[in-house]
């Protein structure tokens, strides 16, 4: 646990080194946020009375998505880990005096937290002060804000656990690009990353609610907008915790099995 914390802090400091890159990223994310919002605005302009979510909720949803992008994006490619696996340098990782699963988990989590910390505050501050239709609507009360943070954190832990499964799959396939791209594209859609789940048709929603992905994006963001009532939110967080433990246990077990079989060629 203490070693995990140390890695986390290291990653955080490393991320803070690239401030210019963070600034450029900030502008890019604001621009994309505006584009998404204007598309929704145009749809809502002549749409039906009750499409499942109000425009303010969708706008808030979109801004939060942009602000916490690095916590929610399922797939942030860490080439370092890929090279470790495909080049055989994994041998050094195995020599470390802590479990590889924990070590990598902390590393990936640290990366995400560092870049989120850099980007989310400036974006949130800017969008809070935007003029009427485009601004962020704050949550109704402190309780839903608190629930949002809890759900967001557990969601992030889930995202990291899922991406750990992807890295583990590289041990088997050795070829990281094609299959992962497929997986990433579909799971982001199922997470509500492209459009919020309530705007999807009924049959799609049924599929989405059976899978864990919507707990990473759609669920925390809709708690913030008040679209999910508090009682339901608490139940949902319970479900999140169950999924999280399943994902982590599965990942750790798979990793242990695969590492036992790993053959590192000398050289």
């Amino acid at each position: 646990m203490r070693s995990s914390w140390a890695i986390l802090r290291l990653r955080f400091q490393l991320g803070l080194q690239y401030r210019a890159a963070a600034l450029a990223g900030l502008a890019t994310q604001l621009f994309f946020g505006f584009i998404f919002i204007m598309v929704f605005e145009a749809f809502y302009a002549f749409g039906p009375k009750d499409p499942g979510m109000t425009l303010e909720q969708v706008i808030t949803y979109s801004w939060l998505k942009q602000a916490f992008l690095s916590l929610m994006m399922l797939w942030i490619r860490d080439n370092e880990l890929f090279q470790l696996i495909t080049s055989g340098n994994i041998a050094y990782e195995l020599c470390r005096p802590c479990r590889t699963y924990d070590f990598w988990y902390a590393k990936l989590l640290g990366q995400r937290l560092a870049s989120a910390a850099l980007r989310c505050l400036p974006i949130l501050i800017i969008v809070l002060f935007l003029p009427a239709p485009y601004g962020l609507t704050p949550p109704a009360d402190a309780a839903s804000l608190l629930l949002f943070f809890i759900a967001l954190m557990v969601g992030t832990f889930m995202v990291v656990a899922i991406s750990m499964l992807i890295y583990i799959s590289v041990f088997v396939t050795m070829n990281p690009s094609g299959s992962i791209l497929l997986f990433a594209v579909f799971s982001e859609f199922l997470a509500g990353f492209i459009i919020p789940v309530p705007l999807m048709p009924e049959w799609m929603q049924r599929i989405v609610y059976m899978l864990p992905f919507h707990y990473t994006v759609d669920f925390p963001l809709r708690i913030f907008t008040g679209h999910i009532p508090k009682m339901e939110a608490i139940q949902g967080i319970g479900m999140q915790l169950i999924w999280l433990s399943v994902l982590v246990l599965l990942g750790a077990w798979l990793m242990k099995r695969i590492l036992r079989k790993v053959v590192v060629q000398g050289g």
């Binding site: 890159a21 450029a24 990223g25 502008a27 890019t28 621009f31 994309f32 505006f34 584009i35 204007m38 598309v39 145009a42 749809f43 809502y44 302009a45 002549f46 749409g47 039906p48 499409p51 499942g52 070829n175 690009s177 094609g178 299959s179 791209l181 497929l182 594209v185 579909f186 982001e188 859609f189 492209i194 459009i195 705007l199 999807m200 048709p201 799609m204």
Partner: protein
């Protein structure tokens, strides 16, 4: 020109060496626009229309954008990855050869896996064209061709200008993504749905509108369409000329990183 094709064939052969990976990536690339399209379809199912545009009209727009963008990615990827050429000092080698730098950079990389995306968009285009109630006249088909070619030229110009910047910044800069990926994301829909200021910027500064909703209005027989809108995609050439000029200027002022 024959040199360009030579480059192309060599790079195609080298990418086909890893056949399984090539095929997987091509399929994967084909599915990335699929989810955007699915999202668009779901929104249309819920809302019916977007500022008067129907689904197949927007699908036409979406297909044209993705065809143009994937073609640019296939043929002009060299400019997209150009910062790494500068950083590694590889560009010095290109300068020594007695051929134009534009040609060599273009020939330095082809991303053939984007053929998947391209094929998907062509299929979508064909579907959207068949949904159109009015017949396809020669003029409309020509306009469609102009739109795609114009789109390629605009993306190419942006890639070139972004590459030129790296002569000075060495690093690639993320903000350029606003124009490339952002432009693609935005032009999936007719630009007329956006805020007026955005629309103006992308009409008069970066002429995306000239390959997007203005000629599209001719294609779908929009009531405000003017027949000269069909020729607007040619405006994109006006963007290519200065970007080649800037590129030349950049090459003249190039100082090797010395690595």
């Amino acid at each position: 020109m024959s040199l360009y094709f030579r480059y192309m064939i060599i790079l195609l052969k080298s990418q086909l060496q890893y056949r399984a990976s090539f095929i997987m990536l091509t399929i994967g690339q084909c599915l990335t626009p699929l989810t955007s399209l699915a999202a668009m379809y779901f929104l249309f199912e819920r809302f019916g229309q977007i500022k008067g545009w129907t689904f197949h009209e927007v699908a036409l727009c979406f297909a044209v954008t993705h065809i143009a963008f994937s073609m640019t990615e296939i043929f002009a990827r060299g400019f997209d990855t150009f910062p790494s050429l500068v950083r590694d000092g590889e560009f010095d080698r290109l300068l020594l050869r007695p051929r134009s730098t534009v040609l060599q950079v273009l020939g330095s990389k082809f991303e053939f896996t984007r053929l998947g995306k391209f094929a998907f968009s062509v299929g979508l285009l064909a579907w959207a064209m068949m949904q159109m109630p009015t017949p396809w006249t020669t003029i409309k088909l020509m306009t469609l061709g102009f739109m795609i070619a114009g789109g390629v030229l605009i993306y190419l110009s942006i890639f070139m200008m972004a590459a030129t910047l790296s002569f000075w910044t060495i690093q690639g800069i993320e903000i350029v993504n606003v124009l490339t990926d952002g432009g693609r994301e935005m032009t999936q829909y007719p630009l007329s749905i956006y805020h007026q200021r955005i629309r103006r910027f992308f009409t008069f500064v970066v002429p995306f509108a000239c390959v997007n909703y203005l000629p599209l209005m001719v294609l779908v027989d929009h009531k405000e369409a003017q027949s000269w809108y069909a020729l607007l995609p040619l405006v994109s050439v006006l963007l290519l000329i200065p970007s080649i000029g800037i590129w030349r200027y950049g090459v003249r002022h190039y100082r090797s990183t010395g690595s």
